[in-house]
């Protein structure tokens, strides 16, 4: 019985012709459409800013593209500088369960009357020294033949719920580490 069934099923199978060719034209159409869409929406900016999960950026009408620079992210849990977790905020049970984050610093992490974040200052200072050393080695010179000065630009990406008190401490610390220009990053509002 099983033998007969097997023969029937063999007979029922359609033979694949040797000259069978996969129709690629429709696939090509789809790929070309995707390619055109990607090229149209391709951003020519050279920045490599990335975000982290759990952070909601504010929306801004500004249309200025942020050029590449040193990058700091204020997340509900910590402050990250160049993808390195530098300072962690005080975590409460409510914040850990998805409630309002505290954005409060540990006492040992701040000095200068509660304005300067020590670990962040060390990280920023180290980054500045590195940048200055690179510029000293670079052949690019100013009119007097001196190495180009440190640009001191810091891009800050923060959750929209962050209070100014926290941002002020971050910017104060960056100012102490000779960062002179802050670029507050936001999501671009569609026009």
């Amino acid at each position: 019985m099983a033998f007969r069934k097997s023969i029937r099923s063999r007979r029922g199978r359609k033979k694949i012709h040797k000259d069978f060719e996969l129709q690629l034209t429709s696939m090509m159409d789809i790929l070309v459409i995707i390619l055109v869409f990607l090229l149209k929406s391709y951003s020519t900016s050279t920045n490599s800013f990335s975000s982290v999960p759990g952070i909601k950026l504010p929306i801004s009408k500004s249309q200025e593209m942020p050029p590449d620079s040193l990058h700091l992210i204020v997340t509900p849990e910590a402050i990250m500088f160049e993808t390195q977790r530098v300072v962690e905020f005080v975590q409460t049970a409510d914040a850990l369960n998805g409630g309002q984050p505290t954005y409060a610093f540990k006492t040992e992490d701040i000095d200068e009357g509660g304005m300067r974040i020590t670990r962040l200052y060390d990280a920023l200072n180290s980054a500045r020294e590195k940048a200055e050393a690179l510029r000293a080695k670079s052949p690019a010179r100013d009119a007097n033949g001196n190495p180009l000065p440190f640009d001191g630009i810091l891009a800050i990406q923060a959750d929209k719920r962050v209070k100014y008190d926290t941002l002020r401490k971050v910017m104060y610390t960056a100012g102490a580490a000779q960062f002179r220009v802050f670029r507050l990053l936001a999501m671009k509002q569609e026009q």
Partner: protein, 182 residues
């Protein structure tokens, strides 16, 4: 001589089939590259320099008193003022839903800009409890000109030609960054 009926349909040229496989390979590679390098995060920026501390002597030496347009973001209102009282102090109370009246702020600032078209600086003084979201909204209202706003012309000092101002008050500085008012 006529061809045989059986050979009429035969052609010397075989049916040409375009080999799409290499093209497909190239397309897939290009799409992969674009998707890998594409910035899906559409970011924008608001630039703000670190404020410079000036002594009282420096201020007294100034020939002309600067406007130093300042916006204080309070919990219940927005306060527009100038330390040298060049403009009347204006208080913009929050709307009924307790959100700041950014439209009114924008309109008031347009009036000030029309009076002082060359002024570009704005000092922002938020409270410690002000959210980043609100700071960005206030800067947006104070910095950018909308398409529906009246045209503000500024004389270009280099060329002497009247040019349309792109920004309302383009340079935003945090006034209390280095300490001072909460």
């Amino acid at each position: 001589m006529l061809k045989r009926p059986s050979s009429r349909r035969r052609s010397n040229h075989a049916e040409v089939t375009l080999n799409l496989v290499p093209m497909l390979d190239a397309l897939v590679t290009m799409i992969s590259f674009l998707m890998y390098t594409m910035a899906f995060l559409s970011l924008t920026m608001i630039e703000s320099p670190l404020p410079m501390v000036s002594s009282e002597e420096n201020v007294q030496q100034l020939k002309e008193r600067p406007l130093q347009l300042t916006i204080t973001v309070n919990e219940k209102d927005l306060l527009i003022w100038s330390p040298f009282d060049l403009i009347p102090q204006t208080t913009i109370p929050n709307k009924e839903d307790q959100s700041p009246d950014l439209l009114k702020l924008h309109e008031t600032l347009i009036g000030i800009k029309q009076k002082y078209p060359t002024e570009t600086k704005l000092i922002l003084v938020p409270k410690g409890s002000t959210s980043y979201d609100l700071i960005v909204s206030v800067i947006d209202a104070a910095k950018n000109l909308d398409k529906t706003d009246p045209v503000i012309s500024v004389k270009n000092e280099k060329t002497g030609v009247e040019e349309q101002s792109k920004y309302l008050f383009g340079e935003v500085v945090f006034g209390n960054l280095l300490g001072g008012d909460e």
